[in-house]
Each structure stands twice: as structure tokens, then as C-alpha cells.
């Protein structure tokens, strides 16, 4: 909540203006029945009495005067009605500015926060939930604010104002108002105390329903394979049935509310007439005042109802507020030191020194005792089965995650002592999934190096073996790329992702399984081009194919988070059992 309130602060003047205007609006609304009662009391009753008493010429004059009086009252009402609407318009304007401004600021803060997340914080939320929080939840808060302010302010003004006006008309009938408010209050309390606990149960049942559905969705292949559809359907049916029963009760309870409220609202005027009859008989009350009183009693009850609707709206919005706060309260795990060391672009030697690593969200170490050195101008390859920790290992270099113990150093400087920007500027990173951004081929490359020249772009694509298929595109380098690169084949995406990294001409290169979708010749040409163009860079290649890494200067063989072999292809064939296994399974006798 404090986050949201902090964001309201700059809009305080707007908020105050809105509150004042709402007050004026309520006043105008309440004044209308008062004028009407004057028309009846004075305009009709008193003038008629006078006219009856006067008779003759005096009566004609009085009739004209009566007419004027009624018209002047009508004019007064017109002014009030116009005022109400103008003020209401102004209120809507204030609230719209307030609501959209606040949600803009909130969105900005949330988005900025998320962009500061590293992998560790990012893992805590699913991508989908991050999106909902920045968009839907903010929208929800905006709704609460614009509608809520209007209701929270307008309802008390109308309620209290209604009581004051009613008291002025007939103080002796105040108990009727008290009674009606009490009745409405009881109704609300009874209905909510019956329904609210069930709301919670309903939420639980919805979650249950979700869970069952999610399980049968994620386990879909298994379900299909083992033909357990029937079982799944029954499980879902049970959850759905439970939900139906509880929901029926709540719906019925809530459906009582409207009619009961209606009953109270209609019977109170009857009561006012019945009680008012005696007061009128004793000349304590005028008929016009009684009519106004009826209208005020409606206002008072209406205000009370309006307020109670807040209690429905508020918890819903609070859910959104909490979900937003969860993001803003997340502390960044990857932080920068206050006085970072600066490493210039140049030869970089990477050293892993006895590194252990575990995911904050996962259990157990994913990497254990990792030590190796990757030299500039050399290719270090990492091979191993899926899930053995290759990606985890290389993600420690650009600090998507931090080590648990040990250290990762570049030229002897711990990566944690560099600024993140400096560190990541040193690295050309090709992720395992070649995530391309929507835009064009050119815009994707420019994202990595905003000041790249045309030659640099062409050169990078040439090295990445992407030039040939870009040339075939009608728009060439301006060929559109859809989000995630879905309009390119897997191999083309990989080559574009490589070109994006290559254009940086960085001292360090990390290729995470980036050649997997390439055919053998392209793979070979690409590696040749990389070797000759990135001669001084430290290159780390993660691979699955022995053929594409066997020329590396150093090969690390990984198994279950450990390095089980280190050396050249030849050395490893002799010394490393795991490597031999992989090699013999992939290559023919002669190739080995």
C-alpha cells in the first residue's frame, strides 16, 4: 500500500480539488428536493390559502405572484441542476487525470524494477505474472482510485448532508432515518458475514480447480499416453462440483440482498407518511417537507449502500496492490559495488576458481568445485549431457546469477567488482534460445551496438553466415523480424543471434549451444570465420556435438555439475571415460 500511496503524492492537489468539487456536487444534489418542497409549501399551499382568503382583485394579483414564485423556484432548480452537472464533469476530469497519471507512474516504477531484476529475481515470478502485474493489476488500482475516491467522498457527503437536511425539515422524525440506516447496516452485516467466509472458500476451490486443470494440462502427454482421460475428467468433475455447491449458496445469499434492500427502501417512505400524518394533523409538518423528507431518506440509504460497495471493491483492489508490492519489495540479489573497478576492452582471461553454485529457487548445488581458465585467443568448449549445468556455468560470467562460493575473475578482477554495464560490455553473449526482438534485422543488430556502421552490420552478418539468407530477403537488412524471430527458421535465428553478438567485437564470447540448428558445413564455415575474425577474443562454446568442438584449444567435460575432464580432444579420448563415450556415440571410427 505504501508504494501506491507514495505514487499518489504528486497528485495531491488534483485529489483535493476533486474532493472539494464532489462536496459541491453533493450540496447541489441535496438542494433540489428542498426547492421542490418550497414549491409545494409556499407556491401551492400558502398561496392557495392566501388566494382563497383574499378573493376578488387581490386574488388575481396573488395568482400572478404565485406564478412568478413558482417560475423563480424553477429557475433556481435549473441553476442547481446545471451546477451539479458542470461540477460532476470537472470531477470526472480530475479523476481521469489522477487515475491515468498514477497508473502511468506505477507502471513506470514496476517496469523499471523488473528491468533491474537479474535471473535470480526473475525466476521468482513467472513471465505471465510479471506481465499481469505491470498491466492488469495497475489497471485495477487505477479503477479503485478513480471510482473509489468518488464513492468514498460522495457517499458521506450525501449521507451526512441528507441527515442534516432531513433534520431541518422534521427533527422529530429523525428516528426513522436512524432506523432505516440501522436496517440497511444489519442487512449488509448479515449478508456479508454469511457470504464473506464463503468467498474465501470459493477462492480456495477456484485454486483447486485451477490446480486440477493445470495438472491435467501439463501432464497432457502422459494422460494421453496412458489413456487416463476418464480419471482426469472425474477428478476435475469433483472439484467443479464442490465449487458449484458453495457458489450456489453465496449467489443465493447475495441475491437476497437486492430485494431486501428494495423492501427497506420502499417501506421507509410508507413509514414516513404514516408517522408524518400525525405531525401534519398537529400542524408540525408541512406536506412539501414530508415529500422532501422521503427523498432525503432515499439519499441517506443510497449513500450507505454506496459505501458498502467499497467493501467489495477494496479487497479486490488490495489483491492487486499486494501483487504490485511483491515486485517492488523484491530486493535485488545481484548488486553493484559502490566503487567498481573498470576493465577496458582488451584481452580478457577468465578464471573460475573453485566455484560452487545453487539456484536461489532450486535445491542443491548445480555446480560444484568448478575451476578452469579460459585464455584470450583460445577456444574453450564445454560439453556434457543436458541438465549437467553448462548454461548455469556460463551464466555466472555476465552475472545473471552470482556464485555461491569461489569466484569468477576476469584478468584477476572478480566480476562482482565490476559495474554490470562494464562487465556486460566485455561480453558477446549468444543465448541458448536465440531470442530475437521484433523489428528488423538491422534493428536487432543495432540493439547490441547502437552506433554500428553499415559496414559493421554487413561484416557481422558475413561472419555469422547470415548474409546469404538476408540477401535473399526482398528488404535485405530491413527485413522484418517478428517477436521471438518466429518468421525465421531455427538455424537462421541462431545465425542472427550470433551476428548480434559478433557486431560488438567484444573481448569475450559465449556461445550457448548456438550451433545446434546449423548443418555441418555452415557450422564449419562459421567456426572458421569466428576463429579468423575474433582471433584475440576469449571464446567459450557450449556444445552437444563433438564434431563442432573437437578443434577447441581446451574442452571441459561436465557431468552432474562437475568438471570430469579437461584437455584437448586427443588428451580427453585417452584420459576421460565420459568424453570417450560421447565421442564414440557421435563419430565414426575414422573421425575419432
Amino acid at each position: 500500500m505504501k508504494h501506491v500511496l507514495k505514487h499518489v503524492k504528486p497528485y495531491l492537489p488534483l485529489l483535493i480539488t476533486s474532493v472539494i468539487l464532489i462536496g459541491i456536487q453533493a450540496y447541489c444534489n441535496l438542494a433540489l428536493p428542498d426547492v421542490m418542497s418550497q414549491i409545494v409549501n409556499v407556491g401551492i399551499q400558502q398561496y392557495s390559502e392566501k388566494i382563497a382568503a383574499a378573493g376578488g382583485r387581490a386574488a388575481t394579483a396573488l395568482i400572478a405572484e404565485q406564478k412568478r414564485y413558482i417560475y423563480s423556484m424553477g429557475f433556481k432548480m435549473l441553476v442547481l441542476a446545471t451546477g451539479t452537472s458542470m461540477v460532476a464533469l470537472a470531477v470526472q476530469f480530475c479523476n481521469a487525470r489522477l487515475g491515468t497519471g498514477l497508473s502511468r507512474d506505477l507502471r513506470k516504477t514496476i517496469f523499471g524494477k523488473i528491468e533491474s531484476f537479474s535471473g535470480a529475481e526473475f525466476d521468482q515470478f513467472s513471465t505471465a505474472s510479471l506481465i499481469t502485474r505491470t498491466t492488469n493489476d495497475v489497471q485495477q488500482v487505477q479503477m479503485m482510485l478513480t471510482m473509489g475516491v468518488r464513492t468514498i467522498v460522495f457517499a458521506p457527503f450525501m449521507g451526512i448532508g441528507g441527515v442534516v437536511m432531513a433534520m431541518r425539515k422534521a427533527p422529530s422524525m429523525a428516528w426513522i432515518n436512524a432506523l432505516s440506516v440501522l436496517l440497511v447496516f444489519c442487512l449488509i452485516v448479515v449478508v456479508y458475514s454469511l457470504a464473506l467466509p464463503r468467498f474465501k472458500i470459493i477462492q480456495e476451490l477456484v485454486d483447486k480447480l485451477n490446480l486440477v486443470a493445470r495438472e491435467s494440462l501439463t501432464g497432457l502427454l502422459v494422460v494421453r499416453a496412458f489413456s487416463t482421460q476418464k480419471y482426469e475428467e472425474e477428478r476435475f468433475d469433483k472439484a467443479s462440483n464442490d465449487y458449484k455447491k458453495t457458489n450456489l449458496f453465496v449467489n443465493r445469499t447475495m441475491s437476497m440482498m437486492g430485494p431486501t434492500m428494495g423492501l427497506i427502501q420502499t417501506l421507509v417512505p410508507v413509514l414516513i407518511v404514516w408517522v408524518g400524518a400525525d405531525k401534519i394533523a398537529q400542524s408540525q409538518l408541512m406536506v412539501g417537507d414530508m415529500m422532501a423528507y422521503i427523498q432525503y431518506s432515499g439519499n441517506i440509504m443510497g449513500a450507505f449502500m454506496m459505501l458498502s460497495s467499497i467493501f467489495i471493491m477494496f479487497p479486490r483492489a488490495m489483491v492487486s496492490v499486494n501483487r504490485i508490492s511483491e515486485i517492488l519489495d523484491t530486493e535485488n540479489i545481484i548488486t553493484e559495488v559502490e566503487t567498481p573497478v573498470t576493465l577496458p576492452q582488451g584481452k580478457c582471461e577468465i578464471t573460475f576458481d573453485n566455484v560452487n553454485f545453487a539456484y536461489p529457487s532450486g535445491d542443491g548445488d548445480v555446480l560444484e568445485n568448478i575451476s578452469f581458465t579460459a585464455k584470450p585467443g583460445r577456444v574453450t568448449a564445454i560439453i556434457g549431457s543436458t541438465g549437467c549445468g553448462k548454461t548455469s556455468l556460463i551464466n555466472l560470467i555476465p552475472r545473471f546469477y552470482d556464485v555461491k562460493s569461489g569466484s569468477v575473475k576476469i584478468n584477476g578482477v572478480d566480476v562482482r567488482d565490476l559495474s554490470l554495464k562494464n562487465l556486460r560490455d566485455l561480453i558477446g553473449y549468444v543465448p541458448q534460445k536465440s531470442v530475437l526482438l521484433s523489428g528488423t534485422v538491422r534493428s536487432n543488430l543495432l540493439a547490441a551496438k547502437p552506433d554500428a556502421t553499415e559496414e559493421e552490420i554487413v561484416k557481422a552478418c558475413e561472419i555469422a553466415q547470415a548474409k546469404s539468407f538476408i540477401k535473399e530477403k526482398e528488404e535485405g537488412y530491413d527485413a522484418p523480424v517478428s517477436q521471438g524471430g518466429t518468421n525465421f527458421s531455427g538455424g537462421q535465428c541462431q545465425r542472427l543471434a550470433i551476428a548480434r553478438a559478433v557486431i560488438k567485437m567484444a573481448p569475450i564470447y559465449i556461445f550457448d549451444d548456438s550451433f545446434s540448428a546449423l548443418d555441418f558445413t555452415t557450422d564449419l564455415n562459421l567456426r572458421k570465420a569466428l576463429n579468423s575474425n575474433l582471433a584475440d577474443s576469449t571464446i567459450i562454446i557450449v556444445g552437444q556435438r563433438v564434431a563442432s568442438i573437437m578443434d577447441a584449444d581446451q574442452i571441459l567435460v561436465m557431468d552432474e555439475g562437475r568438471i570430469v575432464g579437461k584437455g584437448t580432444h586427443k588428451q580427453l579420448l585417452e584420459s576421460c571415460e565420459e568424453y570417450r563415450e560421447i565421442a564414440y556415440s557421435q563419430l565414426s571410427e575414422e573421425e575419432v
Binding site: 517496469f111 475428467e233 543465448p431 517477436q483
Partner: protein
């Protein structure tokens, strides 16, 4: 130059390409086309409950009829009082006809109680029906999931399917509940109110009716202004959502290439655009209420003034004015509801 390149919307971004289908639910506001399809489908579910639905509509209508008679009777009670006051001027003693008053009060209580019972029964039945319907919908969806080709789940995210099972079915259920009863009760309320108004004074009814075209005219004008604004707002909402979505799924690349600042600058542009289009759209659509309210108040004022004139000429009673004011309020409610709903489409 680099900036220009990335800020211009690129063909393929909001389009129906690969990711589009999955993201549609997250990105957009409601789309009328989908609403139409769902409505059609949901009406097919209603088929099995024809008898129940007929009963619900009948009960809602009956409840409304009883409610409509009320204000007229209450006006008669006021007249009893006013006549006593009027006669009092001559006799010097206000003598209220308590038997007449009592009769009216009893009748009123009876009317309202009957109306209450009807609407409670109606509410219960509606809850039952709508619950059965949603239960069946869920069941059908669950069964369908197990029959759909596996490929469907590659393009449709789990979250999307889940939200269809729970949220969408839920909102459909509540809208069914509301539309069904509102249709029946609003219709009777309008017809009943017109009959009652005519029975009091055709002149005043004419005035009340004169307000409808004025209201409708203003509503249609406002819609004409607000709808394009609303569409613009939804479009910029889509841009913001799209950007957030893309940057979230490309998070690792954003980090690796130090693109956070650029991403945030781009976001600010979309965000600001959403703000600008957002408040304009809100102001346009929310101006509906004050404006229609003004027209409604205009009716109230005219009834008060002209009614008072007619009372003076003894062609109308004070109680009639009171009843008529209630009826005008009744009458304007559905109009305002229409106005509010129409801005959201």
C-alpha cells in the same frame, strides 16, 4: 537513426503472427467479435433451461409490476394528507381520514411484500440455473481439453486455457445472471411506469418522453466522440502490454546487451501515450453520466413547475407530483444504464 528504427511500429508486431494468438488474451481489452461468438455459444447452453428461464423472467416481471404500482399509492396517501390540510384552512382543524390512509398503507405494505417474495424466489432460481450452466460449461471444456489435438497447446499457453476454465466461465456466468433478470425486470418496469405515468397525466408524460430523444441524442454524440478515443486507448494499451511482454520474454538478451535503459525509454514512450489516450477516453466516456443526469434533472424540474401549475388549476394533485417524480427516476435508470454500458463497448 537507431531510435527511429525501433520506435516505429513494425509490421508483424501486433499482428496475428506466431506469438499473437497466445498473447491476445493478455494484450487486449475485450474484442466485440469474441463477445459475439461467446454470446452465441452461451445461448446454446441456455436451451436446456427454457422452463426455468421462463419462470425467472415471469417472476422478475411480476415483482416489477408490484413495485411499479407503489409510488402511485404513496402519492394517494400524500393526497389524503394534503386534502386534510386544505380543508383545515376552512374548518381551522386538520382532520385526517385515517381509515383511508390506513387502507393505503396496508395495501402498500402488501404490494411490496409480494414483490419482495417474487424477487427472492427469482434470485434463487437464477442462481441455480446459472450455476448449473457454468458447471456444464466447465465440464465440457475439461472434456474438450482431453480431446483437442496436442498442437493446440503449443500455441495456447497453459495460463490462457486455465483462465478460460475459471475466470472466463465465471464472468460469463455473472453476466448471464444479470442480463437475464435485468432484461425482464427493466422491460416490465419501463412499460409499467409508462402506463402509470399516462394514468396520472398525459401532459407530464409527454414531457418525460420529450427527454428521451434529448438523452439519446446526447448519448449518441458522446459515443461518437468516446468510441474512437476508447479504441485509441486500447491500442496504446496493446502497445504497452506488447512491449512489456516482449521485454519480459527477452529478459536475458536485454541484460546481456545492456539494453535496460533503451527498453525503459521505449516503455516510457508507450506508457505516456497510454496516459494521454487514457485520460481523454475516460473523460469522454465518463461525461455520459453528468450529461444524462442533467437531462434527467431537467425532467424533474419541468414536472415540478408544470405540475405545480396544474395543481393550482386543480387538474393535478400534490400526491401526483410526488408519484410522478418517482416514476421519472425509475424511467431514467434504464436509460442511464444503457448509456454506461454503451461507453464500454
Amino acid at each position: 537513426m537507431a531510435n527511429n528504427n525501433r520506435n516505429t511500429p513494425v509490421p508483424g508486431r501486433p499482428g496475428p503472427g506466431g506469438g499473437g494468438g497466445r498473447n491476445a488474451a493478455i494484450r487486449g481489452g475485450e474484442k466485440p467479435k469474441d463477445i459475439k461468438k461467446t454470446l452465441k455459444k452461451s445461448f446454446s447452453y441456455l436451451g436446456g433451461y427454457k422452463a426455468g428461464l421462463a419462470l425467472v423472467m415471469l417472476l422478475a416481471a411480476a415483482s416489477s409490476i408490484f413495485k411499479v404500482i407503489g409510488p402511485n399509492l404513496l402519492g394517494k396517501a400524500t393526497d389524503v394528507l394534503y386534502t386534510a390540510v386544505e380543508n383545515g384552512v376552512v374548518t381551522g382543524q386538520i382532520a385526517i381520514d385515517y381509515t383511508a390512509l390506513q387502507e393505503i398503507v396496508f395495501a402498500l405494505c402488501g404490494l411490496y411484500l409480494v414483490s419482495f417474495v417474487f424477487s427472492v424466489v427469482q434470485g434463487f432460481t437464477t442462481a441455480q440455473i446459472s450455476n448449473n450452466i457454468t458447471y456444464r460449461m466447465r465440464k465440457d471444456i475439461s472434456e474438450k481439453i482431453n480431446r483437442l489435438p496436442i498442437g493446440f497447446f503449443d500455441v495456447t499457453s497453459t495460463g490462457d486455457v486455465l483462465s478460460r476454465i475459471t475466470n472466463d466461465v465465471e464472468s460469463l456466468s455473472s453476466s448471464l445472471r444479470e442480463t437475464l433478470t435485468q432484461l425482464a425486470s427493466s422491460l416490465t418496469l419501463i412499460v409499467g411506469t409508462i402506463v402509470m405515468m399516462l394514468s396520472i397525466s398525459w401532459q407530464l408524460t409527454l414531457i418525460a418522453f420529450g427527454m428521451i430523444p434529448v438523452s439519446m441524442f446526447i448519448i449518441s454524440k458522446i459515443i461518437k466522440i468516446s468510441q474512437p478515443l476508447y479504441r485509441k486507448q486500447q491500442k496504446s494499451l496493446g502497445m504497452v502490454n506488447g512491449h512489456v511482454e516482449e521485454m519480459m520474454s527477452a529478459h536475458i538478451v536485454v541484460k546481456a546487451f545492456n539494453m535496460e535503459d533503451k527498453s525503459i525509454t521505449d516503455f516510457d514512450v508507450y506508457n505516456q501515450e497510454l496516459r494521454e489516450n487514457g485520460w481523454r477516453s475516460r473523460v469522454a466516456s465518463s461525461s455520459m453520466m453528468p450529461v444524462t443526469n442533467f437531462v434527467s434533472n431537467l425532467g424533474y424540474i419541468l414536472v415540478c413547475i408544470l405540475g405545480a401549475g396544474m395543481v393550482v388549476q386543480k387538474t393535478l394533485t400534490v400526491g401526483n407530483i410526488q408519484s410522478f417524480i418517482s416514476y421519472i427516476r425509475n424511467f431514467n435508470q434504464p436509460i442511464q444504464q444503457i448509456a454506461n454500458i454503451s461507453t464500454m463497448l
